[in-house]
Assembly symmetry: D2
Homo-oligomer: 299 residues x 4
């Protein structure tokens, strides 16, 4: 396995400057180039490249936020408020909240949906809710030293007017309850949580077996995997499913967490993105790994 | 297996009048109630209920039309003209053709996409193209006596102004070439082809193994299965994937063709539909079968 | 003239309970029924019915807000940020802010546009800006005792999540600068300013002659009248122009301010609204007055 | 007056190559540059530049088509099928036919609306209907030798897939009855009718006085003028109303017909268009004429 991962990194490292880093905040635009991969299966963890370099969780945190929303509220409550349907639209589309007769966000992996699942995390105080995010991440990653990137957190919060607009629309529709600024704050905290490829591989492995663990029900893991396949890669989800066929979730930091059901978890990282917001080399590494190991669930 | 199928039919037969038949043409509105199921695995075919009753292929024919488009043009050509993304919209949405900057229909399973794949079937004459549809269906179903429901065909063609509008929009965008009326005619012919649950089980079984057969490449079968999972059940596709997790395609005649990869093909039928256009008892039977046999690909 | 106005009120008073009062805040839902009309021409003011009853300015304040924005910034600046086009959509449509490539709100009479013009009122402090609204209203109405309905103000501010969402979207697009909550506060203050039919007739008369007055340029009055004709009555504007043909602006409190260019100003009031948010009897009184006096600018 | 018109033409002739000719059909793309203006008031006709050069009627024919629809069906019937509201969208927008709950085209001056008014012209045969168009044009223009540009007619008909799509959508919604191809044919015939600036000035003058003439009711002329002001210049209508303030209708051939109520009719021509499809020099000439003669109805 180590050989395979090394070969995949070598095949792609020459294209490390292809594409553009996320530019909406300086903290993301200024990260150094890099490439990393990690796999976790029943035998252990395998890595290559910058697999231990830390980057921010970004949209991949939507998985953890959904786990907590499901844990605290159950399937029916959560999915009475947010849909299960892929949108075909980009991650920050506002359309479906207002147009169409749709009364709820398409799914928990578009921003509007993730803000809503964040609002469903129960706790007396902000700190209590944040602790839930930290504790679950800690349990899944198998390490206790969870940190946040404060620069990213502050920048995101300050440039968050579209998300703020989404939150107020959700509030107007009485889908979201609670204090908008507090909910957004928690959401940006989760986005700024620091992870590396090994953490992502552990998260993918955690998802792979539908076993109750860390307080999360196995049945909820199955649901999350399904949503990752249909909605996890923004408006590239459909094509990614056809080409690679693995439940995956990307973030604008350049990470992708992926899962080969009943087999392994995978984490890849490279900060430059394609037009749809997915890591260019991340997608390519996933494609090569899939070919090497025949992981595609439709194969 | 026969016992399981009988139990499933018995569990649902009392609700045989739940929901509404498709009403846009009399030929669909006036079919008698019924319920049937068929499974084909490596050991043979199992059936229960009205598994041999004939109904029209409708949107399930989009699978066969896509197979032929892929066969005649290859992956790249087809998917340069039609997308791979789920739409979150209902089957006859016109939106994405005009709004958004999208320049192609979301996927081959919405009407606009299927009209386009139909236009890609190559042949000197109309009859030659129709023969391709008949021959491929015949090969997949394992029977030579392919028939069409003329009443459905004539009615669909006459009430087809929305599809006609879609076709002219595709033509204006230079995605569609050829004679619009001929292409629509072929499309309605395919929709009016008569099948039963056993045929659908055979089609599902054909899809299950990604093997080259009947002139169709195995790799194309994998792609079609992926699209069935993400886009096969109209705007219920996402929820169907979460609840049942099998590549499936429904039609307004009340049939559903489904596939448990590497295991079996499934065909169910009951003509009354839910609000999204899927067979109510068909979906319920799929849910029960999935629980009995643990077929969900995310399990 | 008094006879005409009395007849118009008598013709309509029996239908005083037709339609529904604005219901989104109790302060509007619970106002008593009533009907009033006032006309101001070069000879003086004529009234009938409840012409002195106070109600809130609501969307009619968008005229005053636009006057101040134009006064403080000039035509070019204002209309580089907000359009001059009718929208065909209802007053709180969010669509055009996001969909289409449109980068600015359609016009200053939809909520997004009016929030933007409010943000353009210059002043060191909130109080200074509010004073500008009070002073201009005072000058136009010819009375110094400007009051606000605090109950309406507080309720609007609290139920303002859609407007808050609009404001944050405008901020994200860098069309709006300044503190969102302060701008919204000012906007709701203007909406809660108390007026009666005589005030509206004075406002209409002020608009009628394109003369520099109260610090407002005559040329800006011409522009505002044009926008009132094309966009003043929500998505009934086109039909109102065809039927009555006078620059007019309605508010959900049931008032309509109207203007017969070079002839007179008109104010009508009755709190029950039609489906598009315009006063039912207000529109009818305008129609009768128009017929009596042949005011239609296309006549 | 002749001096004024000459000055206006001289002021603009140097910019005769500014902008682009309509390019969707060669017959429009290849016309020579030119500039002309004509005014008709109670004293007679005044012209300057290429006022007698013939060009095609294009969207300006929508005025004549609406006159005939109103004549044959009355106000209520026509406007139960097509709206009176400006759309804020470009002339060939398809959105409102499908999106929104709107069940009819916004107004008779977008293509969908004009195809619908064309379908309302009554006659036993196609020739009878066409004769109505010819006869009314002949009466308004005051000349009997009405001709058509066959090259334009044939090209438009062949490249008409978007209009064809609109027509089939209208048919599906049961707004349009009759044979789609025949209706489109009649519509393209009307678009290809040949006019010059003097004809347009006569049409504007015909509209200016709301007098029953040529079988058209004066009250219908008032309605048409109102629609010209709110919807006549595509998605520039609002700004044109603010800047010039005259009921006007443009066509992609570069003509604009305009009307100063109770005063005069105006026709301008220059084939190069701005981004919204209006004649660049045509709009400029209208602006200068308006300033010279103070025609703006809001002045």
């Amino acid at each position: 396995m180590n050989k395979i991962l090394d070969k995949i990194v070598q095949n792609n490292i020459e294209n490390i400057t292809l594409g553009k880093k996320a530019s909406y905040i300086p903290a993301l635009a200024n990260v150094p180039d890099g490439i990393g991969i990690a796999v976790r299966d029943s035998h252990g963890v395998y890595t290559s490249g910058d697999a231990e370099r830390m980057f921010t969780f970004q949209s991949m945190s939507k998985i953890v936020l959904l786990m907590l929303a499901l844990k605290d509220n159950g399937f029916d409550y959560v999915f009475n408020h947010v849909g299960l349907e892929p949108s075909g639209d980009s991650f920050n589309a506002i359309s479906n909240l207002d147009f169409n007769q749709a009364i709820k966000p398409y799914n928990p992996f578009i921003n509007a949906g993730a803000i809503l699942t964040t609002s469903m995390i129960k706790g007396e105080t902000y700190d209590e809710k944040l602790k839930k995010i930290i504790d679950l991440s800690s349990c899944i990653f198998g390490r206790s030293n969870i940190t946040f990137n404060d620069e990213v957190y502050v920048s995101e919060r300050e440039s968050a007017n579209r998300n703020r607009a989404l939150a107020y629309l959700l509030k107007e529709k009485e889908l979201l309850t609670g204090n908008v600024e507090e909910i957004l704050d928690l959401y940006f905290r989760a986005c700024s949580l620091e992870v590396n490829c090994i953490d992502l591989a552990n998260l993918g492995h955690f998802l792979a077996f539908n076993k109750d663990a860390c307080g999360v029900k196995g049945d909820h893991l199955r649901i999350i995997k399904t949503l990752m396949l249909t909605c996890g890669m923004y408006d590239y989800s459909g094509e990614f499913a056809v080409r690679i066929g693995l439940p995956s979730k990307s973030g604008v930091s350049g990470g992708i967490v992926s899962c080969a059901p009943r087999r392994m978890g995978i984490g890849v990282f490279s900060p430059r993105l394609d037009e749809k917001g997915n890591s260019i080399l991340g997608v390519r590494m996933m494609e090569e790994l899939n070919k090497e190991l025949e992981l595609n669930i439709f194969r």
